[in-house]
């Protein structure tokens, strides 16, 4: 095991850096830019049962130190992911991939998870119960502990691979949702998805996003995400994947000290396509500066300072 390696639900990762769903497509665009086998793994675009166009454009708006998106889960559907995307990915990525799944009903989550669970390339299922950009699905499952537990239980019943429940920050008590997922059998949780937000074009006096609201991500959300990772790591015994605004090796370390077993990187990939490769390259030097021998030893390393 190298200095950077960590274990996520029994699978060893060469490093904890994982491009986040929706910012890395199905990998091939980035494989043209660098050898994506340097990654711990990556989480592919949120996949649903049917192909989806998503929301009308504009889907993107800028914010101070961040961005809003209201893509609305555009994806080719699980059949095309299995028939086309995974075979293409196989040629350029030789590690287990994290399959991100979305749905509009418990049955849909179950069916898509069951089908992706059967794919040899898939290492983990990351179940997105936190998309703020679609109606009648996504986030509505992630804001109620009973529904979060119901999706978790139903998905666990039909799958063999580790199930990671991806949580929404748009709740009063994220630790409560995390505990509900753990009690229902989740193998890990990842957080945070985007924060519900909006922008208005003051010259045209109308919302910039056609969907009116969107999800905020990028550096602006890092302190919020870190706080939530800290709270959830306290509340559950299963591994926590930390994400939200991470764009440097130092922030990977910070997330891990708060309790993250691995770290996802989202919006940073969009503004610097080589961001994850650079973060991985910079980790050893950042660890040296902080006196860290092995990353896996620092998970939750700031916990002694817990308020009592």
């Amino acid at each position: 095991m190298g200095r950077l390696s960590v274990t996520l639900c029994g699978i060893e990762l060469d490093n904890p850096v994982i491009p986040a769903s929706g910012t890395f497509g199905y990998g091939v665009e980035f494989a043209e830019l660098y050898d994506i086998n340097c990654l711990g793994t990556f989480s592919f675009k949120g996949t649903t049962r049917e192909p989806r166009y998503g929301n009308p454009t504009p889907r993107i708006a800028e914010a101070e130190s961040g961005m809003l998106n209201a893509v609305g889960l555009q994806n080719p559907g699980v059949d095309a992911v299995i028939a086309e995307e995974l075979p293409r990915l196989k040629k350029c990525f030789h590690k287990p991939v994290m399959a991100n799944v979305s749905g509009f009903s418990v049955e849909e989550y179950v069916e898509v998870c069951r089908r992706l669970d059967a794919q040899a390339q898939v290492g983990w299922l990351e179940v997105n119960i936190s998309c703020p950009n679609v109606h009648g699905g996504g986030m509505s499952f992630g804001t109620d502990p009973h529904m979060a537990a119901e999706v978790t239980r139903a998905v666990k019943a039909v799958t063999t691979k580790p199930v990671i429940m991806k949580l929404s920050p748009n709740v009063t008590d994220i630790a409560q949702i995390a505990r509900a997922c753990e009690d229902a059998g989740a193998d890990a949780v990842s957080l945070i998805n985007t924060l519900m937000a909006m922008r208005i074009d003051i010259r045209r006096r109308r919302p910039i996003l056609a969907n009116v609201t969107g999800g905020l991500s990028g550096p602006a959300v890092f302190p919020v995400a870190l706080r939530m990772v800290w709270q959830v790591a306290d509340a559950v015994g299963i591994p926590v994947i930390g994400l939200g605004g991470v764009s440097s090796a130092e922030q990977v370390i910070e997330m891990m000290l708060a309790g993250a077993a691995a770290v996802e990187v989202g919006a940073a990939n969009l503004t610097d396509p080589w961001a994850c490769q650079k973060i991985i390259d910079e980790l050893p030097a950042a660890m040296d500066r902080c006196g860290i021998d092995n990353l896996r030893d620092i998970i939750g390393g700031a916990k002694q300072w817990e308020k009592t």
Binding site: G22, T23, F24, G25, E29, F30, E32, L33, K45, Y53, G54, T57, P58, R59, I60, A61, E62, A63, E64, S65, G66, M67, N69, V71, Q74, I208, G218, P219, A267, N269, L270, T271, D272, P273, W274
Partner: protein
């Protein structure tokens, strides 16, 4: 696509609220007219996409309009300033379809990509005609530059202060062309799509999260499926467009 550090060599006003910037650096990723670059600006999270107006072995020229805070900041960058830029983005125009008498249609800051396109078409021995549309005489730019290259140029202004009074489509009458290339605001593209008689291709804009196909922020529906404006476009074929009126 390549990422590189580019040095501002020139950044000067060209017309009312319009600037031209020449950047020095690696241009090897730029392969076709109609492609764009994506520029990181100090203090801005998202990059700004701007079409390539012209390029050679060591420089890229862009022309941009002051729209909001980002382009406003850009206009104050002095010569010598360095910028982080992604180059070689988008599909660009297909010069192979031009025929003998291609027509280039540019509206406002849709005009810049027509410059490199005209250069390539003229070098290939085509008879190039261009129709450029602006609001008023003070906004006009690159009509003379295109003429100097050897293109036949017509200008239309909305207020009639220069050239034909009206829109680009009002200046198309009587022109004989084999194929067209258009870039400009969407209402103009719609009008061109309806009016122009030959096949052609049109270049679109959309708000972008990445500019290289990763985020699905810029997707539009076409007859040939969903297209990411940044990667499958910005240039789409006339026959792909889903406009129904």
């Amino acid at each position: 696509m390549k990422q590189g550090i580019y040095t501002v060599e020139e950044n000067t006003p060209l017309a009312e609220g319009v600037f031209r910037m020449r950047l020095r650096g690696d241009t090897s990723a730029v392969t076709r007219p109609g492609q764009f670059i994506n520029i990181r600006l100090d203090g801005k999270f998202l990059r700004r996409p701007i079409s390539v107006c012209d390029w050679d072995d060591g420089t890229i020229t862009i022309i941009y309009k002051l729209l909001g805070d980002g382009t406003e900041r850009m206009s104050r960058y002095p010569a010598g300033k360095t910028l982080d830029v992604l180059t070689g983005l988008g599909n660009g125009f297909d010069v192979g379809r031009a025929g003998e008498r291609p027509l280039l249609i540019g509206g406002g800051v849709g005009t810049p990509p027509m410059y490199a396109l005209a250069k390539q078409l003229l070098a290939a021995g085509k008879r190039v005609q261009a129709v450029l549309g602006f609001n008023s005489a003070a906004d006009v730019f690159y009509a003379d530059e295109l003429r100097d290259l050897g293109a036949a140029v017509r200008v239309a202004t909305a207020d009639g202060s220069r050239g034909v009074k009206g829109f680009v489509t009002d200046a198309l009458a009587g022109l004989d062309y084999s194929y067209y290339y258009a870039c400009g605001p969407e209402p103009m593209l719609r009008a061109v799509w309806k009016t122009a008689v030959t096949d052609g291709e049109l270049s679109f804009e959309e708000r972008m999260g990445c500019g290289f196909g990763a985020c699905m922020g810029c997707t539009c529906k076409t007859l040939t499926g969903f297209k990411r404006i940044c990667r499958d476009g910005p240039v789409l074929r006339k026959g792909e467009l889903l406009w129904d009126d």
